[in-house]
């Protein structure tokens, strides 16, 4: 009955275990490289430093919001409110800077606090009344949007240089501090997910919440933290957004939740929960950004861009589902 350990047992070392994860990144990176090669071939101007730095400086908001969305989706929830919460945070930030003349650090803290509060409300309501997060965050989407209009009196607030250099390209490297911060958030998110207890609980809850509860772990605080984090990151997205545009528009971020979900799903995170990676979501953001920029450069019209982007999202998910069943079959054999 007892079997001596086999070679497969020794395959348990963490280094070997992370191999499939790296392979997953390679697949997405290959898609990314292919897209870059394609657009470089189609457009003489695409493959240039200026294209890439411009692209990088456009995506910090979407990147950090996608990080939060990844965690929420892995925990088998969904957060539809991120775009509106970002707009509300942006409006508060702009007002704090321009109207109330508060220091930048205080204004940023206010913006983050708005996001955190919205996220806490999402999480708390979801667990307290056991309602689907889809509905709760759909409600928050409306509430926060309304709040953004209310705070800004439905006007765009010009901020100008009041945001300092957060969104401006740094000399020499041409990337903005916002982009660098966003990349750090990506890595922090990945570490949280794969190395910490909270991350393990998030995956476990997304896989089987009742099993987690019956293991003596209260899933509710974990779920609240995940939504709070998503809200906080939406607030951070607001900071980056205002810094980049030098103004706060209460209409900003409409449909952003769908772009974030698209990026996360392209990265292979399961909408059913229990499976996903933050770094993959970042690669998903890059793929969408390259696609958008490249299509614009080869002169695609707005309708054409949207049609192609939509098709790519669906194709990516089909590919992922196919790869997943292949993987399952292989493991099953």
């Amino acid at each position: 009955m007892l079997k001596p350990p086999t070679a497969a047992d020794r395959g348990d070392s963490p280094a070997v275990r992370s191999l499939p994860r790296i392979a997953e990144y390679l697949g997405l990176m290959a898609v990314l490289v292919l897209l870059v090669a394609l657009f470089s071939a189609l457009s003489a101007h695409f493959f240039s430093r200026i294209t890439f730095t411009t692209l990088a400086n456009q995506i910090p908001s979407l990147t950090v919001i996608a990080v939060g969305m990844t965690l929420v989706l892995i925990a088998a929830g969904i957060d539809l409110s991120v775009g509106s919460v970002m707009a509300l945070g942006s409006a508060v930030l702009a007002l704090a800077r321009v109207e109330w003349q508060l220091p930048l650090s205080v204004a940023v803290a206010l913006c983050l606090a708005v996001g955190l509060l919205a996220g806490l409300a999402n999480g708390f309501i979801t667990v307290r009344w056991a309602v689907p997060s889809f509905i709760v965050t759909l409600g928050m989407l409306e509430v926060a949007r309304g709040g953004a209009y209310l705070v800004s009196e439905s006007r765009s607030v010009f901020v100008g240089a009041a945001m300092g250099r957060v969104g401006m390209p740094l000399p020499v490297i041409g990337l903005s501090p916002a982009f660098i911060l966003a990349v750090l958030v990506v890595f922090a998110g990945e570490v949280l997910l794969s190395k910490t207890i909270l991350g393990r609980y998030i995956v476990a809850i997304g896989t089987n919440r009742e099993a987690v509860r019956l293991s003596g772990i209260d899933p509710r605080p974990v779920v609240v933290s995940v939504f709070a984090l998503s809200g906080l990151l939406a607030g951070l997205g607001g900071v980056f957004h205002v810094a980049y545009l030098e103004s706060a528009d209460p209409n900003s971020g409409i449909g952003l939740e769908l772009s974030a979900i698209a990026a996360v799903v392209i990265g292979g995170t399961s909408l059913m929960g229990g499976r996903g990676s933050v770094v993959s979501s970042f690669l998903g953001v890059l793929i969408i950004a390259v696609l958008q920029t490249g299509l614009a450069q080869i002169g695609a019209t707005e309708p054409a861009k949207r049609i192609v982007t939509g098709a790519v999202i669906v194709a990516a998910v089909i590919l992922d589902a196919y790869r997943h069943t292949l993987g399952n079959r292989r493991e099953h054999d």
């Binding site: 047992d9 348990d12 054999d333």
Partner: protein
């Protein structure tokens, strides 16, 4: 049927040289003859190939090699539909009913009577009543949604659905797993009628007693091969067990000192509506207390209430002489040193798509932490590997998904979780349901070992023989009450069964039993 009168009846279904391999061979050169008018039991440990064989017979899997014939004609079903058209029906352990649809719609899901795309409701209901009556389910309204039925009744509906169509060969995969004894009798009566009508029945079950009761011949599979086919009347239980597990010594359970220590768990007046009425008992250190009773008698509710999985309306739980515990949820119970192995391991215990190792360490993650936040991979891995060896969990590696393990190994993974946690009181709800004999014995060993180490155990089980082999005392529940407790040596099967029915006297359940007897 003419062939039924021949001295050596020709097989209705003939399987010759069937092979199927995935990475490793699952079935090797397998021959099987199924005669019309026999109930043929198929036995074997989990992973022996029973399910693969039944899937091949029913067209759900195509064999790599080998032939089948049905009534003398070549038989090569490429889909379940094709098999059904040829008269081969399957009832699986995992029900494939649509919970939101009515009983009638489920019965005829594949061929709803219709006109212009609309379901012909009157015709459907008439056919459904006919099909249900044939199974003795006259009282079941075919318009009821399946989700509103108990699991046992759902199983009977699944059986009725298979039998509502022309049926020459019937394959039953663990059909009685969720049934009460009364429902089993109902199902058996019908199987006997089918046998008399010349149907060939392939019957897969882990319940040895049941198989001897119903079947004519027994075929034992081990590692994808037939190791024996013999008349059921000749089969001795220990002989079959030996054939199933091979040369491995089965051995008797380790003897354990039956002299329990201090009270480890005290339950007083546990009440939850009509499901639990004033349940009180004690369990001592080193003691195994069995909870017997019919399905729905409150056994599961009792352990769930102690563990805080459900809200209770009244009652106190305390650890031995200590003050009453405040248990608002499982978290509090675990903190007080109480663990539970739930009834449904797939839905309530396991993270099926996650690695074995993560499943094992779920309840004790904070123990594998460096600097407050970080999981110490190496320590976690060591602990999981130790448990795997200790419990002999059969997995390719600790990174294999829990969902890919056999039922027995899955259960060991769940038990491992609580071994790591070192709980003093462990509540086991049907710990051996749906797992093979070898794995059952392994689970018994673990339970005995835990008791020998001074843990207090409560074991809920529907198999009386299991409780009588394991427990120091057996408490019997009936209609939400704990009616009596037998000490070791005082009990008998008859007395326990009588106690289990005692609180149901004069209610609907006895009426149903009466109907069983009239079948």
């Amino acid at each position: 049927m003419a062939i039924a009168n021949v001295a050596e009846p020709l097989p209705l279904l003939r399987v010759r040289g069937v092979e199927k391999r995935y990475a490793a061979p699952v079935l090797t050169d397998l021959d099987l003859d199924l005669r019309g008018g026999e109930i043929h039991a198929l036995m074997g440990a989990n992973g022996a190939g029973k399910s693969t064989l039944s899937r091949i017979v029913c067209g759900l899997t195509t064999p790599d090699r080998g032939t089948m014939s049905l009534g003398g004609e070549p038989y090569q079903p490429h889909s379940r539909r094709a098999a059904q058209r040829a008269g081969v029906q399957l009832v699986m352990q995992e029900l494939n009913l649509v919970p939101t649809l009515s009983v009638a719609e489920n019965l005829f899901l594949t061929d709803l009577p219709g006109r212009f795309g609309f379901v012909a409701v009157a015709a459907l209901l008439a056919r459904a009543v006919e099909a249900l009556t044939a199974l003795g389910l006259n009282e079941l309204d075919p318009r009821t949604a399946v989700s509103r039925l108990g699991i046992g009744q759902q199983q009977l509906v699944a059986l009725a659905a298979a039998l509502a169509h022309p049926c020459r060969v019937l394959v039953l995969d663990e059909p009685t797993a969720a049934l009460t004894s009364a429902e089993i009798e109902l199902a058996f009566a019908h199987l006997r009628r089918l046998r008399a009508a010349g149907t060939a029945i392939l019957y897969i079950s882990h319940r040895l007693e049941e198989i001897r009761q119903i079947s004519d011949r027994i075929t034992v599979l081990r590692d994808g091969r037939v190791v024996a086919t013999q008349p059921a009347a000749d089969a001795a239980l220990d002989e079959i067990v030996r054939l199933m597990v091979g040369e491995r010594a089965v051995g008797a359970l380790d003897q354990r000192d039956h002299s329990p220590g201090d009270v480890a768990l005290r339950v007083e007046g546990l009440t939850r509506g009509k499901r639990l009425r004033n349940v009180s008992f004690e369990v001592r250190k080193g003691e195994i207390l069995g909870l017997a009773g019919l399905v729905g008698s409150g056994r599961t509710e009792t352990v769930r209430a102690i563990f805080g999985a459900d809200r209770t309306h009244a009652g106190r739980v305390s650890r031995g002489p200590g003050p009453p515990l405040t248990i608002a949820g499982p978290k509090d119970a675990v903190r007080a040193g109480i663990g539970m192995i739930p009834e449904d391991r797939k839905e309530q215990a396991l993270l099926l798509s996650q690695p074995v190792r993560m499943n094992m360490t779920l309840a004790v993650l904070p123990a594998f932490v460096r600097r407050r936040w970080w999981i110490d991979d190496a320590r976690e891995l060591r602990a999981a590997n130790e448990l795997r060896l200790r419990l002999d969990v059969r997995s390719h590696s600790l990174n294999q998904r829990a969902g890919e393990l056999s039922g027995g190994n899955q259960q060991k993974v769940v038990i491992a979780r609580w071994l790591l946690r070192e709980c003093d009181v462990l509540l086991f709800d049907e710990p051996t349901r749906g797992i093979d004999v070898a794995a059952k014995i392994a689970v018994y060993r673990v339970l005995n070992e835990l008791a020998a180490r001074g843990k207090a155990l409560v074991v809920v089980s529907s198999e009386l023989a299991e409780l009588m082999a394991l427990c120091d005392r057996i408490a019997v529940m009936s209609a939400g009450r704990l009616v009596t407790t037998f000490a070791r040596g005082e009990w008998s099967e008859d007395a326990i069964v009588a106690a289990a029915f005692s609180e149901y006297a004069g209610r609907g359940d006895t009426a149903r039993r009466g109907r069983v007897d009239s079948c």
